[in-house]
């Protein structure tokens, strides 16, 4: 078999293994640590008898590994259990919210990715001149700002002072596509700003690395136009690192989404997770944690697979 196929198969297997290990970690993290779900539900004033009853009912007296496999079996069949706080089915609740979160993340990425690559190229083109310095100053500022700060600044000016956009991004099914889009302009803008800087800086570094290589010099010494040098020699080698950068930052987006959803009261996964952490609703937290981790692991895996595919040494072995 072609070595690339083997490598990719290995990488996918590793991803699955990692996901499996992650599920154990999340399960162990929520159940072995001090604090008890039954206690959490009933509160401090619960009688020992009612606590014992609840534990029995929830199967908390079974050994941990048994509960883990029960949970895992459920997860694999799409059954995430039901919420402790309102007894509703978690899978159906997450379904709609996951859609909302992906909708928001999709638009943020759609703006951020091309913009970051463009600005990264600009920084390379004007390296060490003012556009580059401006961009790196912006980067410094943006990695120092908390996401909620960006959120409230945008709300303060765009929603409150100038009233261009709504300050709260509630969306529901009956809204039209354009209404939804209008509602998410501000949160999407914040998310864009959050990942833009990192992505730009990493893109700049990746492209600079290629532009400073000896083969680009060779191309210049062949008398090719700058455009041709970039198109034929720099670009094919820069795709892999840039895709890598994009994937890593999209993975970062997953985290940014949590805070931004809370700021804008957006009905997505992040909001749902945070709400239920305060309610100590463990099954919901486990389910959300697993989904966030899966997205994160998946994106990292895609980044690695792209690197494998783009490596000519692996594609054309000796």
């Amino acid at each position: 078999m072609h070595p690339v196929v083997i490598l990719i198969a290995q990488r996918i297997a590793l991803g699955v293994l990692l996901l499996f290990a992650t599920s154990i970690l999340i399960f162990v993290g929520t159940l072995i640590l001090p604090g008890d779900v039954a206690q959490a539900i009933l509160g401090q004033s619960a009688t020992p008898q009612s606590l014992a009853n609840l534990r029995e009912e929830m199967g908390l007296n079974d050994p941990a590994w048994q509960r883990y496999f029960q949970w895992l079996r459920g997860v694999l069949q799409g059954d995430l259990g039901s919420s402790l706080s309102n007894q509703r089915d978690i899978a159906t609740q997450i379904g709609a919210r996951l859609g909302n979160t992906l909708f928001l993340a999709f638009w943020a990425a759609l703006v951020a990715v091309p913009l970051a690559i463009f600005l990264g190229l600009l920084a390379v083109r004007y390296r060490d001149r003012w556009p580059d310095k401006l961009i790196s100053g912006f980067t410094l500022a943006s990695i120092s700002l908390p996401e909620f700060f960006l959120g409230y600044v945008l709300i303060y000016f765009f929603a409150v002072k100038w009233r261009w956009f709504p300050s709260v991004s509630t969306i529901y099914d009956s809204m039209s596509f354009w209404q939804k889009l209008d509602a998410i302009v501000l949160p999407a803008a914040v998310l864009t700003l959050v990942i833009l800087a990192h992505m730009m800086r990493m893109t700049r570094a990746a492209i600079l690395n290629v532009m400073q290589s000896a083969y680009v010099e060779t191309a210049e010494l062949k008398g090719l136009t700058t455009f041709d040098v970039i198109r034929k020699h720099a670009f094919p080698n820069a795709i892999a690192p840039v895709v890598n950068v994009v994937m890593l930052n999209l993975a970062y987006l997953v985290v940014g989404v949590v805070v931004v959803e809370v700021v804008f009261v957006y009905p997505g996964m992040g909001q749902y997770l945070v709400d239920h952490v305060s309610k100590r609703d463990v099954p919901v937290v486990q389910a959300c944690g697993l989904i966030f981790a899966a997205v994160y692991i998946g994106l990292n895996m895609i980044a690695d697979i792209v690197s494998i595919l783009a490596n000519p040494r692996l594609r054309h072995p000796r």
Binding site: A219, L221, G223, L224, D228
Partner: protein
């Protein structure tokens, strides 16, 4: 100047802006007003040590400054035009069409994502010199002429699928393909093994002769350039030292510096007869690296006698550095044993006594990574004194000063950091550190190969003097036969992990030779005209590397 002079450089000045930390940026001139002429079909050699500005001048002939380097003054005339006053567009028309370039590292200069053929013909097609199919035909004939295997199909491979020596030839084909008037060769054989170098050198020389192209040949090795150049310019620190015909430069150098370069490696060393009792005896050693399934050393046996030098020579991959790792205990052998000072050494580092370690010291090829950059020279040399002999305070300082004197550096260096020393000084400090342990044997792993020839000569002389004074033995690992001639008492030639030939220097270096030793010995460029042709005529085996 004649009609045929088509490259004319006048008072060329080149510099770069440096950004020293904490200071305002400043302009540093690298080349200070160099002039030269080149006729059609001739080859000019530019020679000098690192920092001489030779590559910078070579690239200036294409109007190019590498990494922030700028041409600040002078004129470069090619075919009657001053290219420095031309527009970027005119420069582009010149590059890859009238003037082409061959770099030191072809492996890095080929785009890893594109097939070789595509890159070789790219300039010809872009500049409209040939149609694609014409260019491809031309490339194939160049591949053939340059001695590449399978010239018809090698262009369909990717750069990583062919060897370094082959890639270097492919790059020469790339430079010759558009029928340029001038090719700039920038150290094209430096990164290759000697036996490969000679083939590439021959291929380049014949290709130049066949195509009638003019060339600038840049190298630090005078013996190499003497084989290919018609004229030679000797450069030092961005200035011309001497400029004349190759014959004049080699046979009748005028300047002191040129004379030194010509007579480099002329150190002579009287061979000593072996003693009854060897100091170090490596017996039937076989070794492999962990996690691999092939042996890098096969049944190696050599002796080093007290106060003498055993030179271990071989090309990259011959196993010579592995042998050093086995002797020091870093790589326990699979089989065989090592005796040292009459006792059997433990195969592992952990099993050796402090006395074993003290008596067996090591000096490395890259002096700048062999010293902790955060320690001063005083600490570096003082540590073995403290560690092995328990010296402290004033006593230690006194001994460090003595050692600094021995390596011909003053005690002004005590508080300096390695970054503040020159390459030669760094290597001297490493020698002092080894000496501080009062060893019986020092393993020298390519200690001169990263240095400029004159500096390397100084180090070799120092090592010989120290051997006389301290009666220390050396196991000298090198790929350079000239160095071996200069210092060895006995020689082991290694090839593919085996000792190919072993004995006293005079025996090993006298015929009859086995095929490999013949190839190795004959491949070392000699400082005489016509050497290349002579060798090609007489040798028996071609390049071992591929």
């Amino acid at each position: 100047m004649t009609e045929d002079t088509f490259l004319k450089v006048r008072d060329l000045k080149i510099g770069a802006t440096a950004y020293p930390p904490g200071e305002p940026p400043k302009w540093i001139e690298i080349v200070h007003g160099v002039s030269l002429d080149l006729e059609k079909g001739k080859v000019l050699g530019l020679i000098g040590e690192s920092g001489a500005g030779k590559s910078t001048i070579g690239l200036a002939a294409m109007g190019y400054g590498r990494g922030g380097v700028e041409i600040s003054g002078g004129e470069v005339w090619i075919n009657g035009r001053d290219i420095l006053s031309g527009s970027p567009r005119e420069l582009r028309r010149l590059r890859g069409s009238e003037v082409t370039y061959v770099s030191q590292s072809a492996a890095a200069s080929f785009n890893p994502a594109k097939k070789i053929m595509e890159q070789v013909i790219e300039a010809s097609v872009r500049h409209g010199k040939f149609s694609r199919s014409e260019a491809e035909k031309r490339a194939v004939s160049l591949f053939d002429k340059l001695g590449l295997p399978d010239p018809e199909t090698i262009g369909e491979r990717y750069p990583h699928q062919v060897s370094g020596g082959q890639l270097q030839r492919a790059m020469t084909a790339m430079a010759l393909c558009p029928q340029p008037d001038l090719v700039v060769f920038d150290e094209p054989t430096t990164a290759l093994d000697v036996t490969t170098q000679i083939d590439v050198l021959k291929a380049i020389k014949e290709a130049i002769a066949d195509t009638g192209v003019a060339a600038i040949y840049i190298t630090h090795d005078l013996a190499v350039v003497a084989q290919v150049a018609d004229d030679i310019m000797v450069l030092r620190m961005g200035e011309k030292v001497e400029y004349g015909s190759t014959e004049q430069i080699i046979n009748a150098p005028q300047e002191e510096y040129t004379r030194a370069l010509v007579s480099v490696r002329s150190i002579s060393h009287e061979e000593k007869p072996p003693t009854n009792e060897p100091l170090l005896s490596v017996q039937n050693v076989t070794a492999r690296y962990r996690g691999t399934n092939f042996d890098v050393l096969h049944d190696v046996s050599v002796d080093v006698h007290p106060g003498q030098t055993l030179a271990v020579v071989g090309e990259s991959g011959s196993g010579k550095s592995t042998l050093a790792r086995v002797i020091t205990g870093l790589l326990p052998p699979r089989d065989g044993m090592i005796e040292f000072s009459g006792r059997t050494l433990s195969p592992t580092l952990a099993g050796r006594t402090r006395e074993d370690l003290r008596e067996l010291q090591m000096i490395y090829q890259m002096a700048d990574v062999a010293m902790n950059p955060r320690h001063t020279v005083g600490t570096i040399i003082g540590r073995p004194l403290e560690f092995y002999f328990g010296l402290k305070g004033a006593e230690k300082k006194k001994r460090v000063k003595e050692l600094l004197d021995e390596i011909e550096m003053g005690d002004g260096f005590l508080d300096r950091y390695p970054a503040e020393l020159s390459g030669g000084q760094k290597q001297r400090v490493c020698i002092a550190r080894a000496l501080a342990a009062k060893p019986k044997l020092i393993i020298c792993d390519e200690v001169t190969s990263a240095l400029d020839p004159l500096v390397a000569d100084g180090i070799l002389k120092l090592l010989l003097n120290l051997q006389k004074r301290e009666d220390v033995a050396y196991l000298f690992i090198t790929h350079d036969i000239a160095t071996v001639r200069a210092i060895a008492d006995s020689i082991a030639v290694m090839y593919q992990g085996r000792v190919q030939r072993y004995g006293a220097k005079s025996t090993v270096l006298s015929p009859p030779f086995d095929d490999y030793t013949d190839l190795l010995l004959s491949s070392v460029p000699e400082m005489k005209l016509g050497w290349l042709e002579e060798v090609i005529e007489t040798r028996r085996m071609t390049s071992a590397g591929n």
